[in-house]
């Protein structure tokens, strides 16, 4: 009991640190953007993509003309929302920081967004156009950090410029804007130096190497420990705010997956396939219910015991994306990033799922996952489809989901309790926004 109280107290204290608090407030403000982007992503990548789950089971290609065109349209919305969420986050966190330190300044937000874009903007790499991957959720934490730092600078040296100032006369407004100019120029010059350094790094392609090493080691050799390592790498980095996990798409076919498939198709049985524990099948099959960190269990858990009306609304809206493995809305809506309350289930439940499932496979209680599964298949249906419709596999994944929900419940309770104790002010603020 004492241990639990100490954990809750420490976690509450941690969540009150200015940076963590600003990070979580940024998530709250960006929730609508993340939600809309996730819905359109679901439409473009699941319903309208040739290899998407919904497209396949409802045979969308056969009754919808110009599928590619529609897909592209919805994809554009995704790009404008979660595709650019990092600059938005830099803007929000810088503005919030100046408000937090009682020196409100909206120019700080603009400067932060411009700075972030400039640092990673690189229009020349061969004939390639601008790279977008630094602007999506993958580098969220970096954006929030940059915004925070710039917010601090403005809080210390900037001239106050709050939204309320728009009531002033134009000339006064201009003088405030000009007063901040030197700081904007200074910060952007700093960003330019970083931009230059980063451009040099990119010329040598250092920025993609790490990711390549990871992906290639996964698709080359199968090693049981690799499953756990991959899962931990994904969950920890997402929890830290690098919110775009490495995807093991079903397109990542390696030799082992292929020989499994050939074996199953020639022998018409899944018993004794040569490689029952391939990383992509175990990870996609059991560690990914509702996206990285078993977020579907988190959504259902909040629906089950959440007391606040806001939490309920957030969870209801996040439920559909979570069913199709898009955890981003609930991670924003429940402020999962950097939140110590959720780190344990978020990081360890996927590993637990994989260990239990591989035990069942080892004991031949369920067959291994062998058949190809379309992209965006709901996590708990992956084992079912991947075994060619084996009901035992479906029962196991439902049981695992129930277990995951049960594990999440106490953490959800603790996470939202302190908010109710001293969070009255915060709640009313949210309603005003």
């Amino acid at each position: 009991m004492g241990k639990k109280r100490r954990f809750v107290n420490w976690a509450t204290w941690f969540n009150e640190r200015p940076f963590v608090k600003i990070m979580q407030q940024t998530m709250i403000i960006l929730f609508p953007v993340a939600l809309i982007g996730s819905f359109t992503w679901m439409i473009s990548d699941n319903l309208l993509a040739t290899n998407g789950f919904l497209a396949n089971i409802f045979r969308v290609r056969q009754w919808l003309p110009y599928m590619q065109f529609w897909r592209q349209l919805f994809n554009d919305i995704t790009l404008a929302t979660i595709g650019l969420v990092s600059p938005y986050a830099a803007f929000t966190s810088a503005t919030l920081t100046t408000y937090h330190y009682k020196h409100p300044n909206i120019i700080a937000g603009l400067t932060a967004a411009a700075t972030y874009i400039l640092i990673f903007f690189h229009s020349q790499r061969g004939a390639q156009t601008i790279e977008m991957r630094y602007y999506n959720a993958g580098w969220l934490i970096v954006a929030v950090l940059i915004g925070y730092a710039i917010g601090l600078i403005f809080a210390k040296w900037g001239k106050e410029f709050s939204i309320a100032d728009v009531r002033l006369r134009d000339q006064q407004l201009m003088s405030k804007s000009l007063a901040n100019l030197p700081l904007v120029v200074g910060i952007l010059s700093g960003a330019f130096v970083l931009h230059l350094g980063y451009a040099l790094l990119r010329i040598f392609n250092l920025d993609v190497t790490a990711n390549q090493i990871l992906t290639s080691s996964i698709s080359k050799n199968s090693n049981y420990l690799l499953n756990g390592f991959l899962s931990l790498n994904n969950t920890v980095s997402v929890w830290l705010g690098f919110a775009e996990p490495v995807r093991l798409s079903s397109g990542a076919y390696n030799n082992e997956v292929t020989s499994n498939l050939v074996y199953a198709l020639t022998h018409k049985t899944l018993v004794n396939v040569p490689y029952p524990f391939t990383p992509s099948s175990l990870y996609n099959g059991f560690a990914n219910f509702g996206g990285v960190g078993v977020t579907l269990a988190l959504v259902i858990g909040i629906l089950w015991i959440g007391r606040h009306k806001n939490q309920q609304t957030v969870a209801v809206w996040s439920a559909l994306p979570a069913i199709f493995n898009t955890g981003l809305p609930i991670m924003f809506g429940a402020q999962v990033f950097l939140n110590p309350f959720f780190v344990l289930p978020f990081v360890f439940l996927p590993v637990l799922n994989m260990v239990i499932a591989s035990g069942f496979i080892f004991l031949h209680i369920i067959p291994p996952i062998v058949y190809p599964v379309p992209n965006g298949t709901p996590g708990i249906l992956v084992p079912f489809i991947g075994t060619g419709g084996d009901w035992r596999a479906l029962v196991l994944s439902i049981a695992l989901l129930l277990l995951d929900i049960a594990v999440y419940l106490p953490f959800i309770k603790w996470a939202f309790e302190p908010h109710q104790a001293n969070g009255g002010k915060e709640a009313s603020q949210n309603e005003n926004d």
Binding site: V257, I323, I385
Partner: protein
């Protein structure tokens, strides 16, 4: 744990959604496995051919007729034409039980130049996707004459990512990997081909046939440009063999009718499940 009305709703909604999804995905999964199994058991192994620039789908008529006269196996000939607007038409048909038909894929846009090669490779992808659904083969052989070989190379590097379909052998005939440029000046296309060579299938057996009227060219394409194929294929695919044919009909456009080339196709590209039937001429096989 109390069963409030809300909790009953949660259970009902989730169970409802997942029941529907489970039902549909069960149907899908049975059907998709069926397709996979049928493909796995398919015995068809077509030869898919791409003609060069300015040529039509009729480019290989003589070649197929001659091959049929040589091996008496009565290969069918199917001609597929891809139009610029995406329409795909078929002429001829594949005889039932013909396990090794010839399929020629031609394009409305049959112009020269790197940009057109890229467009044609994309058109070839569309045709290939239709063919694989229609005929359900799990392996095939490729022949490309002249720029057809460039289209094949671009296709294999950028569009060919099949997990169940294998390209066993590829033969390019008089294919100018460096267009008409001299060896010391690499074209953008050759540079790109070399850049993405790792995407080529590693278990491919590849033959590049050059024609030579004199010591340097086949009347149109420099020998060195055909030879430049080694920078792309050699060491990347399983086997890469370079052959130069000379003499009568070694002129660029005549190569598909050249008897030596026909022998090479018959010996090295076509299947030999019954070696007894091969009588008469048998030049040395180049590789297995």
């Amino acid at each position: 744990m109390k069963m409030t009305k809300r909790r009953k709703w949660i259970i009902a909604v989730f169970v409802g959604i997942f029941t529907i999804l489970t039902f549909f995905s069960y149907c899908w999964s049975r059907q998709s496995i069926d397709v996979l199994e049928r493909r796995q058991q398919s015995r068809m192994s077509p030869v898919i051919m791409i003609p060069g620039s300015s040529a039509t789908v009729n480019r290989f008529d003589t070649l197929v007729a001659k091959i049929n006269r040589m091996d008496h196996r009565n290969h069918s000939l199917l001609k597929v034409k891809v139009y610029n607007n995406g329409k795909i038409t078929y002429t001829g048909q594949i005889r039932q039980n013909d396990n090794e038909p010839f399929i020629v894929v031609g394009f409305e846009n049959n112009h020269d130049g790197y940009n057109n090669i890229k467009k044609q490779a994309k058109m070839f992808k569309a045709a290939f996707n239709q063919l694989k659904v229609r005929y359900n083969f799990n392996n095939f052989k490729g022949i490309g004459h002249s720029n057809g070989g460039l289209i094949y190379t671009y296709f294999l590097e950028h569009y060919f990512s099949e997990r169940q379909i294998k390209i066993k052998r590829l033969m390019t005939i008089g294919t100018p990997y460096n267009f008409a440029e001299p060896a010391n000046r690499r074209t953008q296309m050759l540079t790109d081909f070399i850049k993405y060579r790792q995407n080529l299938p590693s278990n491919l057996t590849m033959y590049s046939v050059a024609g030579s009227e004199n010591y340097v060219e086949d009347g149109l394409v420099p020998l060195s440009s055909v030879m430049a194929g080694k920078y792309i294929y050699q060491g990347t695919v399983k086997h890469y063999t370079q052959v130069t044919v000379t003499g009568k009909l070694a002129q660029h456009s005549a190569l598909p009718q050249n008897q030596e080339v026909l022998d090479l196709i018959q010996q090295n590209i076509l299947e030999h499940d019954n070696p007894q039937r091969l009588n008469g001429r048998r030049p040395a096989r180049l590789a297995n």
